[in-house]
């Protein structure tokens, strides 16, 4: 004879005769604890159907993985590549526009043609060979950008005489008392001095064509950096 637990399982699995089924259903109505056991076993079986090792959820997970990791991924990679290409184009276009815009403000970049620029620089070096200050030239070694105090103008830059020369230094220096001196070989003992106001980080100076040197310093304390550039008429 089956005990009650087996009877419930037999009922769930539809193994009871019609008479047994009728009797069992009458008992269900009369005894809530029997109904509760039935509900628990039905939910347990459903839990197995859904979350068991061969259940629906693991199979849906496998289906999702298969679709998302193989053909779809290719698609999404393509989309990603397309997206990356668009972003790259936008960046290039942005840089180009920025360069064009800067050309108006930063005279050191007014030549687009690098070959022409190199040729002109070579001509200026030759032309102003005798105007070099040898003792100063020896100190003008390339400076790592991280150690640069003065950001513009870079060494040996060609600058347009029709626009002011832009000096720009690191903003974290702007609280110090600073000075820029500009001079040629002939004026090295009487340089133009530009005391820099606090909070400033730029200086613009109009200069005629020539080879110029500059000295950036904390007056009477320390020379921070020196440099050299050419002003030319294009």
């Amino acid at each position: 004879m089956e005990n009650e637990e087996e009877k419930i399982i037999s009922y769930i699995e539809n193994r009871l005769t019609p008479a047994e089924k009728e009797t069992f259903e009458k008992q269900l109505q009369a005894r809530p604890e029997l109904q509760e056991s039935l509900s628990l076993y039905q939910d347990l079986l459903l839990a197995g159907d859904v979350f068991g090792p061969d259940g629906i959820q693991p199979q849906l997970e496998a289906t999702w993985q298969a679709n998302e990791s193989t053909p779809k991924r290719v698609g999404s990679n393509r989309r990603l590549l397309r997206f990356a290409a668009v972003i790259a184009l936008l960046i290039v276009a942005g840089i180009a526009i920025w360069q064009i815009a800067l050309r108006g403000n930063h005279p050191q970049e007014f030549w687009q043609d690098t070959d022409q620029y190199a040729q002109l620089l070579s001509e200026q070096k030759e032309r102003y060979q005798s105007a070099r200050i040898k003792i100063l030239d020896e100190t003008l070694l390339p400076i790592r950008s991280s150690k640069k105090q003065m950001l513009h103008p870079a060494i040996d830059t060609l600058l347009n005489s029709q626009q002011p020369v832009l000096f720009e230094w690191r903003r974290d220096l702007s609280n110090s008392k600073l000075e820029v001196e500009i001079f040629t070989k002939d004026t090295q003992n009487t340089p133009r001095r530009y005391p820099l106001p606090k909070d400033a980080y730029q200086l613009k100076v109009k200069l005629p064509p020539n080879l110029y040197y500059w000295r950036f310093s904390i007056p009477n304390e320390e020379v921070l950096q020196t440099g050299r550039f050419y002003v030319v008429t294009p």
């Binding site: 637990e5 347990l44 839990a47 859904v50 979350f51 999702w64 679709n67």
Partner: protein
């Protein structure tokens, strides 16, 4: 492309083709709906997967109870939409005003999920319990892995009759008592 009748039939039978069809029919729509309600993008993919899975399971449970939706697409969209909005709310986000979020009437999925969680927890402790030899295995294989008694008997290396007697006289009474005393049992009743 499978028609609704075929799809429902395959789903009820838990046929492998039904899962692929369910993916094709509903997964992209779930992602798309989440985007519509401005779901947090960093979680969108993972949560879309969970919502899609739950939607299909809720549909399976609904069909398993003998229900037949008049409009399958509308019924599934309703489930999916509700789950998306519920999840958005859980994230502390405001549900769009135009979206009328109504909690699901049928909580079978939640009840079954919690039942599975409690059962797994109890079976873990039963393994180490003296006097309950084979019980955890018998219950797990029968309910959670849906094995027949002869399969369980073969797997454990015992007679089928022993499995039946052991399950009904020793294992299930103990399991049921522990289940009702589990700290999450009240969540199940609420």
């Amino acid at each position: 492309m499978m028609d609704d009748f075929q799809f429902v039939k395959q789903l009820k039978a838990k046929d492998q083709v039904a899962w692929q069809e369910a993916y094709r029919r509903y997964y992209a729509k779930t992602e798309s709906y989440l985007r519509t309600i401005k779901y947090p993008i960093e979680k969108l993919k993972d949560d879309a997967k969970d919502i899609w899975q739950e939607t299909v399971i809720v549909l399976y449970i609904y069909l398993g109870k003998g229900n037949e939706p008049n409009d399958l697409g509308a019924y599934v969209f309703g489930i999916m939409r509700n789950l998306c909005l519920k999840k958005l709310k859980e994230k502390g986000r405001e549900v769009p005003i135009e979206e009328d979020y109504t909690p699901a009437e049928d909580n079978t999925y939640e009840r079954v999920r919690l039942t599975h969680e409690i059962a797994t927890d109890i079976l873990g402790t039963m393994k180490k319990q003296k006097g309950l030899k084979h019980c955890a295995e018998i219950i797990r294989l029968f309910f959670l892995e849906r094995k027949k008694d002869r399969e369980i008997a073969a797997q454990i290396g015992l007679k089928e009759d022993y499995i039946k007697v052991r399950r009904s006289q020793k294992c299930l009474p103990y399991f049921k008592t522990k289940f009702q005393k589990h700290y999450k049992y009240q969540d199940l009743k609420n």
